[in-house]
């Protein structure tokens, strides 16, 4: 049984002819603003967390003319390391190919390194190729990665908590030989007059060399394995102002430290310039 009379209904229907399209258009605009505001809020959040999405940093222990020692690179969860600027981690050193390796973060294991075909890297002196199972030789906190002539040390934000399980005996085929262990120099001698150039990781802050005296096959317990990794004093690191830990400590006032303005690390080129360079290459 109709509630409204025919006349009333006609009036209501006439009103609805204009009201409904108006509401529908308003709905579209509101959803648009909802999406835009959501994106803006996310951008703001990420702006306040510049290290967002990064699992750690790779610190250059030994680089080349184009790659200063003590330069650091934020490491994303997944990406490509290579010599061209389109890569996520650009290592312009002799022996590093255009796209040298893929890496990905695996919770509880570490940074898995997958060299591309024909490429080779060394993790703590152990040669790793595309045939090596990445989970067998993960890059963990404090581990040293050798790519071409570059030596890089990984510093994880999540530190050892999430990568303890990675310290387990290596498979037989991956055991470093006596020669390779002896030849591996994870932290080459620096010239005495080297002035620390990186603004945040001073020479004194960078952890010491990776001792190669304890072979992996003799590591029986986790504690032993942990001892093999050089102690990494978190408090000794001066956090970068643009990293997630930016407010952890005030900037050091000691005279020996080099200020940000004095840093010779070149500014990151604009994205358009990077594309041009890549195309040129």
């Amino acid at each position: 049984m109709p509630v409204a009379s025919a006349d009333v209904w006609n009036i209501l229907y006439t009103v609805s002819r204009y009201l409904f399209p108006l509401l529908a258009v308003s709905l579209v605009f509101l959803v648009l603003f909802f999406i835009l505001s959501d994106s803006r809020i996310r951008r703001e959040k990420v702006h306040h967390l510049p290290g967002s999405g990064m699992v750690g940093e790779l610190i250059v222990l030994s680089g080349s003319r184009d790659l200063e020692t003590n330069t650091w690179f934020p490491v994303p969860r997944e990406g490509v390391l290579g010599a061209v600027r389109s890569c996520d981690l650009v290592i312009p050193c002799p022996g590093v190919r255009t796209k040298h390796l893929d890496f990905s973060w695996e919770d509880g294991i570490g940074l898995l390194i997958r060299p591309r075909t024909g490429c080779e890297v060394q993790i703590n002196g152990i040669p790793v190729t595309c045939r090596t199972r990445a989970a067998d030789v993960p890059l963990t906190h404090g581990a040293v990665l050798q790519v071409g002539s570059a030596l890089l040390r990984l510093h994880l934000f999540a530190a050892m908590d999430s990568t303890v399980s990675a310290f387990r005996p290596l498979p037989e085929e991956l055991m470093p030989s006596a020669e390779s262990s002896a030849a591996f120099v994870p932290y080459p001698a620096q010239p005495q007059n080297t002035v620390p150039t990186a603004p945040f990781y001073q020479a004194s802050n960078v952890p010491g060399p990776m001792p190669s005296s304890v072979p992996y096959d003799q590591m029986s317990t986790i504690s032993e394995c942990m001892q093999s990794v050089p102690p990494f004093d978190q408090s000794s690191i001066v956090p970068e102002s643009s990293m997630p830990v930016q407010n952890a400590a005030p900037p050091l006032q000691q005279e020996s430290h080099v200020s940000l303005e004095a840093s010779p690390v070149p500014a990151r080129p604009r994205r358009s310039d990077r594309w041009k360079e890549d195309l040129g290459e």
Partner: protein, 377 residues
């Protein structure tokens, strides 16, 4: 945060008012109690879903708002013509929420491993091959199969296993071509080639994927006896579109065959072309949202998955509109979320669930970073 909440509540309020009015108006005319129930139940359930706490079940609110609007539009298309059809559509949409949750849970629990990717690909190809195995099947599960195949391709590509990804993609296209489902095969081929190009990071492999997808089409078209199914009538939709008013007509138009009519065009006839434009714009917003989610992901798997979802939904809508404009002489697929076909509707819900899962993953990653930053202080 306050600004975003205000937009959230405004969308909720508008949906509540709009859909309450839409169902109350015909209820006042006919006095049908079912319409009164609908006028309370439809906006009420929309509000409940949009205000569901994030801790209980994380869903992407903007995408959800778009989906609910489109589902509401599909219900209001038949409200003057057949209340039973409206109720059926409402039940179908409610049942689709299960697939929405399934998609979201699947993304959150899916680990990119070879067995998981292989199993998903196998299930997807199985769904695509069902019409070949059981010719008596009256409905098509190709949309769901395509979603699963794209999920498997994304997982394989994230694992850098390009050959299995290539195999899954080409097998899916092959199965669809064998069924003479040219439209779906085209959608899958374009999505497959685009995702391969975006995720494989290799010109060679992108070329191989594009050539293999295109080669299958050329091969089938060159086969003697293979014919592309044509649309039965030429340009009936275009003539209907041109006769539709911009605003709702002065009197409620009568449609004889409601069950077989497309809900998208019924909406246009009942409420004017402006509602069709709003539907298309809402879908475009959903695609923009999906692309934005793909940009913010941390893992290549999630990025490929979001891209696949956006492509599958977008290409279907594009094909629907191209066929409506008489640009493609193929049988028309359904417009996303505005169809009475249950498999199509459920696959759309599943795809949106995948997007919601990726969004939840992004939010969780950001929360984790904020927690780390807080600990560092």
């Amino acid at each position: 945060m306050r600004k975003n909440s205000s937009f959230h509540f405004r969308v909720c309020a508008l949906l509540l008012i709009f859909f309450a009015c839409v169902f109350l108006l015909p209820a006042c005319r006919s006095g049908n109690p079912i319409l009164y129930v609908l006028s309370a139940a439809v906006p009420g359930s929309m509000l409940l879903l949009l205000l569901l706490p994030n801790g209980l079940f994380p869903l992407d609110r903007p995408s959800l708002a778009v989906m609910l609007s489109l589902c509401g539009f599909s219900m209001m298309a038949t409200v003057y013509l057949s209340v039973d059809e409206t109720v059926s559509q409402g039940i179908r949409c409610a049942a689709g929420l299960f697939f929405l949750a399934l998609g979201a849970v699947l993304v959150r629990s899916f680990r990119s491993s070879v067995p998981a990717a292989g199993l998903t690909g196998f299930c997807g190809l199985g769904l695509l091959s069902l019409p070949l195995i059981i010719p008596e099947l009256t409905f098509s599960l190709s949309d769901g199969g395509m979603a699963l195949v794209m999920l498997a391709i994304s997982a394989f590509l994230a694992l850098r296993l390009r050959l299995p990804a290539l195999f899954a993609g080409t097998s899916g296209i092959l199965l669809l071509l064998l069924q003479k489902d040219f439209g779906s095969a085209g959608v899958l081929a374009v999505s497959f080639a685009a995702v391969f190009w975006a995720a494989s990071d290799s010109v060679l492999w992108s070329g191989i994927s594009a050539v293999s997808a295109g080669g299958l089409f050329v091969l089938f078209l060159a086969l003697p006896g293979y014919s592309v199914p044509q649309r039965a009538e030429i340009s009936p939709v275009l003539s209907r579109l041109s006769s539709m008013p911009l605003l709702p007509p002065e009197s409620v138009p009568e449609v004889s065959d409601v069950a077989s009519s497309d809900l998208f065009f019924l909406l246009g006839e009942q409420y004017g072309v402006i509602f069709l434009l709003c539907s298309v714009l809402l879908l475009i917003l959903l695609l923009i949202r999906g692309a934005s989610l793909a940009q913010h992901t941390r893992k290549s798997f999630h990025a490929s998955l979001s891209l696949s979802t956006v492509l599958l939904l977008g290409l279907r809508a594009f094909m629907f509109l191209a066929i409506a404009a008489d640009l493609l002489p193929l049988p028309a697929p359904a417009f996303p979320f505005m169809t009475s076909s249950m498999p199509d509707l459920f696959s759309n819900f599943f795809l949106l669930g995948l997007l919601s899962g990726v969004s939840a993953r992004n939010e969780a990653d950001l929360e984790e970073d904020m927690h780390l930053a807080m600990l560092a202080r």
